[in-house]
Amino acid sequence: MADQVMTADVSTRASATFEPRIIGFLCYWCSYTGADMAGTARMKYPPNIDIVRLMCSGRIDPELVATAFAKGADGVLVCGCHIGDCHYMVGNHKTMVRIPLLQRVLREMGIEPQRFRLEWVSAAEGARFQKIVREMTEQVRQLGPLNWPGLMRSRGVGHGMDLKPWGEV
């Protein structure tokens, strides 16, 4: 690693107490309500996921996902309505195409598939949401910290990427 600060940062975070930071982009109608359902049923899951609410998974711009990783997320979970259940009829059809494509691109850029998942969660699937979050948190914990900007710089790429992973807006 070229960046001293980054190396130090990674070493502290890679210690036994490493807690992954996961961003969940959830559509309001199915998945966000599904996450609420997990709460209503008191289904426990790790606190590592922070949920960002959007109206439709079709709103999830690849830029948002990339920014999350560039700003220091160790994992990103995208959840939308099951195909056929979209509140906006076909908004999630765009997600269905867009996210897997982005997954392929990001895999080439060093982001393991376990770190970036697309899952369909209906408003009734609280248990499914719990299972996904538990599983994903554990998998990302196993993988360790991502430090995507540092990784990119070590490969000699990532020019133009925000080099301050913990930076402000």
Binding site: N48, D61, L64, G84, H87, Y88
Partner: protein, 679 residues
Amino acid sequence: MQGNGSAGVVGNGNGAGEDLRIGVFICHCGGNISDVVDVKRVAERIRKLPGVVFSDTHNFMCSDPAQAMIEEKIKELNLNRVIVAACSPTLHALTFRRTLERAGLNQYLFEHVNIREQVSWVVEDPEAATRKAERLIRAAVKRIGHLAPLDKRRIPVHRSALVIGAGVAGLVAARDLAKCGMKVDVVERSPFIGGRMAQLGKVFPTGEDARPLLSKLIQEVVHDPNVTIFTSTEVLSSVGIVGDFRTKVRTTPRGVDARLTYVGNAIAACPEETISEFNYGLTKRKAIYMPHPNCYPQMPAIDWGTCTKCGKCLTAVGGKGIDLKDEPREVELHSGVIILATGYDPYEPLYGEYGYDVFPEVITLQQLWRMLDWEGPTGGQIQRGGKPIKNIAIIHCAGARQYQGISMPQPDGKVKDYCARTCCTAALHASLEVKERWPEINIYDLHQDIRTYGRGHEDYYKHASEAGVTFLRFDGHDLPKVEKDLRGEAPLVVKVIDQLTNGREIEVPADLLVLATGVVPHDISELIDMYKCAIGYDSFLLEVHPKLRPVELAVTGVFIAGSCQGPMDITECTAAAAAAASKAAAMIAHGQVEMEPFIAQVNEELCTGCRTCLVVCPYDAISRDESRGIAVVSTAVCTGCGTCAATCPSNAIVQLGFQDDQVLAELNALLDREAALVL
């Protein structure tokens, strides 16, 4: 302003340029939150953030005193942004937005943070939960600086309704709307109104005759001066949005007018015959026909697909009252709202499914009901194959509750896996009717389950059992088999693995096999495209929410009534239609509709007119202004999914309330170094 150089919009809706004055209100939810999250600590730490001028907790933030407190604080401290951290926004975001309105603050300068369903109820460790709650509120504090005041969309609504379909549901909806003083146009594809109800001899759960009931309803509708009914009329195209729909319809001529007196002569003279849809193919009808003597309108119609225009009917009636040369007419109907009441079709069994089409003794329940009708094709007698009927077998769930890989797939490769709901009671009703008229007939009822769910429906099950109907239960994975009876006792034998006798194979003789067929939606693919209707997995129209908005489609101003939404009996259709009518009437009476402002907005300077957004919009809400070469969003059509905003290659489209800078501010705050330490 905040020290982080945020480029947020500041202001309270009345003018920009003020500093951010954020009030943060954190709820205990009577312990639901505060038993896990240390809300006091969170409030204290949040108070130190730049822009936050007030941060405190309350036992129940949604209570009237707490709302009054928020109102007071907004006024007292001149707050221009409000954050409430409490339950899920699905529950109370609206409550608090109204609180802001009351305090004179734009209701969209508000952030709702979910620290109950998504924090205190799911995170076990109090320390971790407290940190997570703080992190989420910090993100809201960062995000809220980027919010701008928004206004609800208000769209005027024309005082009229268009009802598509004149079956029971359409007629009830039209009647109820007309009674509210609304002008109603009813469009019906067939030349006769009343739909499928007329095909039923009797209706459950009252056992009343169907047609007199229907007649009563029809009379109420057709004599209402507010109602205009268009028969033989199809919807060609529809443009416009809620409040101002313009629907082009085409009326095929009836070929017959009120001057026709010798109806019988005209029908008798017609040489062309085709299958009678009304009698489900049990009989034939002429090209000039009335489906049944009490049909409405009380005059025949000509089926142009069958008619050869030979003119024999014209000769038979003396040249008056029949016009074979009339041309179709197109008109445009103007309406504020639309109600779809397009109904259902009975499931048509596939060739060979339980011997259907192979053995003449296999009929559908609909056909049995036509036979049982005293005014029906057989005068109320059960006939098939000339022999007297001694044994009737009824198989439930033909075209319903099927399993993939077990039942024959439909042309689309799928099986009909949903319950058709009405057929159990209808089949039992028919069994009982047969038993009452001919107690000596043996009835074998083969079912997966008996689902007599409605009020009074269970009585049919009870009475059928008492009347001696033999019930046998099969597993949907092990369907009954229908074969020719080689011993010659009855024409057919049905072999069933009976679950009620621990899986014994039982052979049931059948002179008549009745398939209690399921229900499929009437084919309305053109309307589905036209109105951008959502479709459920069962191909029926899908409401916005089954409990909160059960008769509305996602497209504002379009409602659904009756069995186009799913299998329903007449009682349920009527209730659904009345609900749709009252929803529509409320919208019309209000004179305008209010819609959330979270819609797409085009930055005209950035837009290159590449049309990408036009392609992805599920509602065709975006068009291209060819003169200026940019995309234009129809504010009334846009539903605010934000798909275009995610797609635009120039970032020229934003979704209000979910703009990139707003979401990114939230993301940054969630992931910034301080927040990371909070975890």
